[in-house]
């Protein structure tokens, strides 16, 4: 699943804000822009962007998902890196599209895959930022949820490295980290019982280490986990990794 080719790195990038940030989590998209600009990167936001097509892809309706993916590829046409604050949407470009376009190769789709970066992966492995010049005011224990779409990408290690380098931050491992949180897109609503059980187990393991903050690279996982935790009256403060990077910056 990891991109074996060298993806472009530059100080001018296209931002794919993701549909979830468009609808619910505007501050995550905003933090992405602010962090990248802090690093001297110019961020362009193509207005006609919508979604990567993954919801339809996962249900098996590949006619629908290919239409959306083609639209997406046309919106992000060119040679600039495409930066996504979501491991899941990035995986759709990098891997899902490869699968659904196997029988009908498409140059724009291939080009999109060759230029897509999950944002934390881009910062660490693309721009080469190894330490983050940030600081928490008080010692902060962070539980980092490496979402499933980042199992074998550079994102997990990148996020751990950057978060750990923040002054007063400690990334604390928790149990059964290889287990899924139970979101899984439409899975969350067609398997509501199993999804909620999986999420509750994840929350148990996270709460076991008594973190001050839950960090993630996919708002979908965090939305599901926080929604469950809120309904159960046991929320854990959570942020996307880019929000943490922005909020701890020493200016």
């Amino acid at each position: 699943m990891s991109a074996t080719h060298a993806r472009p790195v530059g100080k001018r990038v296209l931002l794919m804000g993701t549909c979830l940030c468009d609808a619910f989590f505007d501050d995550v998209a905003r933090a992405t822009v602010e962090v990248l600009e802090h690093l001297g990167v110019e961020v362009l936001y193509p207005e006609d962007q919508t979604c990567c097509g993954q919801p339809a892809f996962n249900t098996g309706d590949w006619d629908a998902s290919r239409q959306v993916a083609r639209h997406c590829a046309r919106v992000f046409v060119g040679d600039l890196p495409v930066i996504v604050p979501s491991g899941s949407c990035a995986a759709m470009h990098l891997h899902g599209n490869r699968l659904q376009f196997e029988q009908e190769p498409d140059d724009d789709i291939a080009s999109l895959a060759a230029r897509t970066w999950e944002v934390v992966d881009f910062i660490h492995n693309g721009l080469g930022v190894t330490r983050w010049p940030g600081r928490f005011d008080t010692p902060t224990r962070i539980a980092f949820h490496r979402s499933c779409h980042c199992r074998d990408t550079g994102t997990g290690a990148a996020a751990r490295a950057l978060l750990s380098s923040i002054a007063h931050a400690e990334v604390v491992p928790f149990g059964q980290a290889e287990q899924c949180c139970g979101f899984g897109g439409t899975f969350a609503v067609t398997f509501p019982h199993i999804s909620a059980q999986m999420g509750s187990l994840k929350i148990d393991h996270i709460r076991d280490i008594q973190p001050d903050l839950l960090a993630g690279v996919d708002m979908s996982c965090l939305m599901h986990l926080d929604g469950l935790a809120a309904a159960q009256g046991r929320r854990v403060p959570h942020k996307h990794v880019v929000q943490i990077l922005r909020d701890t910056l020493i200016s």
Binding site: D22, L99, G184, T186, F187, T190, F191, I194, S195, L228
Partner: protein
């Protein structure tokens, strides 16, 4: 139609006791596998990829290797049979047994035999067939179904087993001490071994170069089963071939570690052929029945990688859906991720009946990460979902995706919808008659809609910079 998938409904109904047994057994299995593979190998993933490549090569040249195995087996003195489907395999086996006048036999654990429902068929034909694997023996006593590939009774606890033993007369009293249970089964099975006229086994591997059959167990039951009988029948899926004996070095090292966290299973049998000059032990007659039963069709499909499977059960252990729902939720011989792929494929024309199984996954990829033969299980689940959609198989709770595609390919409509989604913040969404929303809100809150806010911000931001 329900808005919820069958496997989710099944998971809701299983007892806490059963769920706990499955959860315990699977998480222990996952931890043991991880620890031993990483302790013993600097890069276990490289080993998984090598095993996958060997299996892939074998499958690409399966006709050649099957011919080679046939020749080698025959030269060793075994008789080779071919069964196109389950019914064919059952009648081939029955004919062999009748030919040798066998009325009682023991059988070691074989997923292929489960797949063709061999036990019931033999019993119906007047042949007493005793399972000699402890787990399978308990399944048989309970008239239950195995729920895991290597741990058939992962869904039971020792109290249930002690009750079964007492009820079925294997023991005179109730005793749930594991060692006592095992000792009692051993005493009971000894009599069955001695009275049997044949032994049926599967095979974990068949070496195409030498015709050697490899069987792994932890109980030594295949060794016991074969020792006193004149007839050995091995039922083998055609995908069980490996090209050379030396390939076993890769597979045996991976199988034990992946399945049970053991470096090697306690017993590994290498069977070169029936009793002959220079081979003083074992049955005089050896029959190998190669089973197709849909495998050739799978080989021709875009899901052929599933035929690499060596039946270790690691994907079942790590799968969060399997852990919640148990193997029985999959309504077939093979449960969990491998079953979600294999079952609808083996069903052939009956694909639609099992088209819900590939949906039972969050596509988390944990199965792919642990698979000893590197099967891209999530990709195969997705291809099968695509097939189900192409064949218009109805799917409970499915959200129609063409309106989504319309919206997501019309930027101005999309932007309007995003802005309008903020209306949700002022609506009583809890009572909305929309199944997906209801299913979401059943256990979770929904975040506040902020539709279009980022677009507003970035516009202002760009104007200022």
């Amino acid at each position: 139609m329900s808005s919820v998938q069958p496997i989710d409904l099944y998971a809701r109904r299983i007892s806490d006791e059963k769920q706990l047994s499955v959860m315990d057994g699977t998480s222990t299995g996952t931890d043991k596998r991880y620890r031993i593979l990483h302790a013993d190998y600097p890069d276990p993933d490289a080993l998984r990829r090598l095993a996958g490549a060997i299996k892939d090569h074998t499958l690409q040249h399966l006709d050649t290797y099957l011919d080679a195995a046939d020749r080698a087996l025959t030269a060793n003195g075994a008789q080779v049979h071919y069964a196109a489907d389950a019914a064919d395999a059952r009648s081939v086996i029955l004919a062999i047994l009748r030919g040798h006048g066998v009325t009682r036999l023991t059988k070691s654990k074989s997923m292929a035999a489960e797949e063709i429902h061999l036990n019931r068929f033999l019993m119906d034909n007047g042949i007493e067939c005793t399972e000699s694997d402890l787990g399978e023996f308990i399944v048989q006593l309970d008239d239950d179904e195995p729920s895991h590939i290597v741990k058939p009774i992962i869904h039971k606890n020792r109290r249930e087993i002690a009750t079964t033993f007492q009820r079925e007369g294997v023991a005179d009293d109730y005793n749930d001490d594991p060692e006592t249970i095992t000792r009692r089964a051993r005493v009971h099975l000894r009599g069955k071994y001695l009275a049997a006229g044949a032994c049926i086994t599967g095979a974990n591997f068949v070496c195409a170069d030498s015709g050697r059959l490899v069987l792994v167990t932890n109980e030594g039951n295949t060794r016991f089963g074969m020792a006193p009988v004149p007839v050995h029948i091995a039922l083998v899926g055609i995908e069980k071939l490996v090209p050379r004996e030396c390939d076993l070095a890769v597979f045996l090292n991976l199988l034990g570690r992946s399945a049970t966290g053991q470096q090697l299973t306690v017993y590994t049998e290498f069977i070169a052929g029936p009793r002959a000059a220079g081979r003083p032990d074992g049955p005089e007659h050896m029959h190998v029945v190669f089973l197709d039963n849909g495998r050739s069709d799978i080989l021709a499909s875009d899901c052929r990688e599933i035929l690499r499977c060596i039946r270790c059960g690691a994907c079942q252990n790590v799968c969060p859906v399997y852990r919640q729902a148990s193997g029985h939720a999959y309504r077939s011989t093979y449960g969990g991720p491998v079953g979600a792929v294999l079952t609808p494929l083996l069903a052939g024309a009956d694909f639609a009946t099992y088209a819900d199984l590939p949906k039972a996954s969050s596509l988390c990829g944990a199965c792919r990460e642990v698979c000893p033969v590197d099967i891209p299980i999530p990709d195969l689940l997705l291809r099968l979902r695509h097939q189900a959609h192409r064949e218009a198989v109805p799917s409970p709770g499915a959200v129609p995706m063409s309106p989504f595609a319309k919206l997501a390919t019309s930027p101005s409509l999309w932007r309007t919808a995003m802005t309008m989604s903020k209306a949700m913040n002022h609506l009583p969404v809890q009572v909305a008659p929309i199944a997906p929303l209801r299913n979401w809100l059943g256990s979770r809150t929904l975040p506040e809609s902020r539709g279009g806010e980022f677009r507003k911000w970035i516009k202002r931001h760009s104007n200022h910079s």
